[in-house]
Every structure is written in C-alpha cells, then in structure tokens.
C-alpha cells in the first residue's frame, strides 16, 4: 500500500504560479485529478514522478522524496501525456526494453504479462509507428506496468481513445485500483472521472478547489446557480412569469434577450416550455451560458 503526501507544496515558473500551496494525501485506489487545461494537473504528476522539484513544501512517496531519487521508479510507473515513443520498435520490443531497464529477472515474461493486461498481444509484433493513438496509449501503459508498480500515474490517459478502448482502459484501471494499487490519473473531462473514481482532487488555477468523494462534489457542482440566455417573442411577459417561480434567482432584460439565473437546472429546463406554451409566447433561443468546466470549477473555488 503506497501513499503520496503533499504538504504545502507550491511550484512556480518565474512569476507564474502553477501549483499553489497544496496539501493532500493520495492513497490506494483510483483517484482522479480533475481540472481545466492549465490548472496544474501535469505539474502535480511531474512532481510526483520526480521530474520536477517543488519550489516550496514537501512531497513524499511512502516517506521518501521523489525529486532526484531514481529508486522511486521501482515502485512507480508513469504514462506521460505526449505519445512520443520509440516508433521504430515493435510494441513487444518497447515493453521488453523497459523491462530490461528495470533489470527484471525475466524481461520477456514480464513484458508478455503487461501486454496481455492491456490487450495488446495481437498488435505486439507491429511497429509502434503503425499504431493508432489509442494503441500507443495502451502500449505506454503496458511499459509503465511491466515492473508491477504499486503506483501508476497517468496524464490524460483517455485522450485519443475510441469509446471501446476507453471502456477497456477504465476497466483495467479499476481492477488495478481494486488490487490495492495507488492509481492517479488526470483528466479535464468530468464524465471520465465520474465513471472511474470515487475520490477526486479538483484543481483550478493551481489551487486545490475540492477534494474527496466524487458524489459530494458533484452535488455541489449541480446545485450551483445556472445562467441561461432566453429569447422569445415577448421577453418582458416571460420575465414576469418567471419571477414568481421559486427556482428563479434573478431575471434581467438585456439587449440580447433575457438572462435568467436559476438554482434548479432540471426544473427550469422542464418548466420553461410549459410557461411559454401557457403564456402563448414563442421560444426562439434557450442557451446555457456558464456550462464550461472553468465556470463549474470557478464556482467550487468561490464555495
């Protein structure tokens, strides 16, 4: 059982703060590192993997610092985001070479095990140059798993995968987590994290915005006020009708129609059609204006 510990860790590049005073523990099981692009997720993973020194604070893996400590790679596997691999090697040669670099007792056997785990046996004798992006991702996972590490770090592992490959990868990571390994993966897609991990760490602008059980955080996310832009044949009349509803926070008449703030996404979407029909108003546009991940995460920070 391996534990990664962050204590007041910050990392900056010149004047730019990439990670800001983070304290968290990541233990066995699957943990999702969620956040919009540029939130500091890769910086976190690179620091854990010993490829970046914290500017401040301490980061340890089972009590040992990871920076300038190649010994951690006996217990840790890394799947980087960039899909640059040695394209002139076959999948089997790549994974076997990695096994040899780890000085494993039987590199061929370990490689066959890891390739089987990622279901790459059929394509193992083809050059990596001929692989699809999803296959490259899987052969990278096989190489990262070849020494049977306790900790697996994956940077945006589902990028470029088709739905079937995505499901298979999720299933594999779940199994590895159930076996007691510490699996940490980054993603900017909420649904990926939702399906795979019970525990999440939400990063926004270098800060840890939320941490813990996914369902509790999801509730926070869905109960936030939502903003819609509505255009109709009679905006003023619709505004009057909406003001009386308890799920309506605010209604504003703007040059581009109505801006409605509601506390209940589902009720508003259901009722808007009923109201416009009853009031004999024609609805021409209904647009959620704050659905980007950044706005969801921004709300979490404000909380």
């Amino acid at each position: 059982m391996s534990v990664i510990e962050f204590r007041n860790v910050s990392r900056w590049y010149g004047n730019v703060v990439a990670v800001n005073d983070i304290t968290m523990d990541i233990g066995p099981g699957v943990t999702g590192l969620l956040g919009p692009n540029g939130a500091g997720k890769s910086t976190i993973l690179h620091m854990i993997a010993g490829f970046l020194a914290p500017s401040k604070g301490t980061l340890t893996l089972d009590g040992a610092a990871t920076w300038r400590n190649p010994e951690v790679y006996r217990r840790l596997g890394l799947v980087p985001e960039r899909d640059s691999v040695y394209a002139f090697l076959t999948g089997a040669q790549f994974v076997t070479a990695t096994a040899k670099l780890h000085k494993l007792a039987d590199p061929q056997r370990s490689a066959a095990w890891a390739i089987g785990l990622t279901e790459m046996a059929e394509a193992q004798d083809r050059k990596i140059a001929t692989y699809s992006k999803g296959m490259r991702q899987r052969i990278k996972v096989a190489a990262a798993l070849v020494h049977d590490p306790q900790i697996l770090l994956l940077d945006e592992p589902f990028n470029g995968m088709d739905p079937r490959q995505r499901l298979h990868m999720m299933d594999l990571l779940s199994r590895l987590g159930d076996e007691g390994r510490t699996i940490l993966f980054s993603s900017h897609i909420l649904e990926e994290v939702e399906r795979l991990s019970g525990t999440i760490q939400v990063m926004v602008a270098g800060r840890l915005a939320a941490s813990g059980d996914f369902r509790a955080i999801r509730r926070l996310m869905t109960s936030r006020p939502h903003v819609f832009r509505v255009r109709t044949t009679d905006d003023r009349r619709l505004a009057a009708a909406l003001v009386g509803r308890d799920y309506t926070h605010a209604v504003e008449l703007t040059g581009k129609g109505l801006q409605v703030r509601t506390s209940d996404f589902g009720a508003f979407c259901e009722q808007i059609a009923v109201i416009t029909r009853d009031e004999n108003i024609r609805l021409t546009e209904l647009l959620p204006t704050d659905e980007s991940l950044e706005s969801v995460f921004g709300y979490l920070i404000a909380k």
Binding site: Y13, V17, L76, R82, F88, L101
Partner: protein, 239 residues
Amino acid sequence: MLNPVIAGITVRATLGRRRALLFAIPAVVLIVLTVVLRATSPTGVVWPANVLGTFGFSVLLPLTALIIGTGVLGAEIDDGSVVHLLATPVRRRDVILTKFAVAAGLTALFAAVPELVAGLLAPNSGKLAWALFVGALVGSVVYSAVFVLASVLTTRAIAFGLLYVAIWEGVLSNLVGGVRILSIAHYALGVANAIYPDQDLQAGLGLPTSLILGTVITLGGLYLAIRRLQTFSLTGDPA
C-alpha cells in the same frame, strides 16, 4: 556503466532518422575532394595535409560530430520520448555515458574512417593517413562530449554547434594563435602531428597539451551533462 539496451535503442534511433543521411555528406565531400585533387594533381600545393588535416578537422569532423552528438539524446529530449528511459531506475550517469559512447563511435565511423580512406587515396600519404585517423578518433571523442553536453543544456544545440564550428573552429582557431588552446580541432591536429610530424598540418599544440586539454574537456563535459540530466525537468502547463 554502459547500458546495452539504451545503446541499442540509440543506434537504431540515430541511424533510422532522416538526418542520418546528413552524416554521410561530410564524408562524401572529403572523399570526392580527395579523388578530384588526386586526378587534377595541382602543382606547388601540398594539399593532403591542408585538406584532410586543417579543413577535415575543423569543418567536416565537427559537423559530423555535431549532427550525431546533438541527436543521440537531444532528439529524445525534444520529442519527449526520453521520459521512457528516465522513468526507470537506470542511473542518469549511465544514460549519459552510453549516449556519449554511441555518439563517439558513430562519429568515428562517419568521420575518422573516411579520413583514413581519403588519406590512403591521397598520393604519398600512407603514414599521414594513419596519423590523421588517430587524430580524428581523438577529435570524435572530445567533440562528442561537447555536443552531448550542448544537447542537455539547450534545445537550440544545433544552432549553438553551427556557430561554434563556423566561428570558433573554422575561423578563429586558424587565425588567432591564442584560441588554439581551446580548439578541439587543434587537439586532434596536435595528436596527428605527434604521430607523423608535418609542418603543413599547422598544428599549434604539442601532444601533451592536446591530450591533457582534450581529456579535461571530455571529462568536464560529461560531468556537467550528468549533473544536468540528474535535474532533468518536465514542465507542466503553468496556470
């Protein structure tokens, strides 16, 4: 110390890239030039020592070493594949020493061997050919250490190397006497001249100076490259 897995991957990667065609160009230029000069036999010009020695050691040899030396590790750093090597318990020292050994070996193959071939093709220069071959071997080793270091220090190692070869080795070391003490081409010429003394080689340094300074630069370059790779960082996306 040397890791055979890394050596194998490096040789395949270096020879498999399109830039591998570039390695052969300086060697072909040298041999073609030798054949043309031999056929035309210009009178009053002692060309083997000038062409194979001064021109070969200060232009063709460093260009070959530059392309190979910056490619063995720099290309993997540029495309990110080096992470697959470094995320293993292999010591960073072994990574640098293996990359350096491959670079020096390939440079010797693509620069020192053509020097020998061209030397043997040139008229009346049998002993000179072997002296130039040994000098080129020494040059391959020292240049490789410098260019491997450059590739871990900067992503613009090729540009740095081209400026260094063109200005320092190509012009200044042949015009300004004091510069020779920091010229790898002159270390190589010093070794060649010690084996087969020839005034036309215009060797500015003696054997002891050449060997001592060549060793210092090689070991110093490798030490700095190891230190640099030990603190190799991947940058994430700043927020």
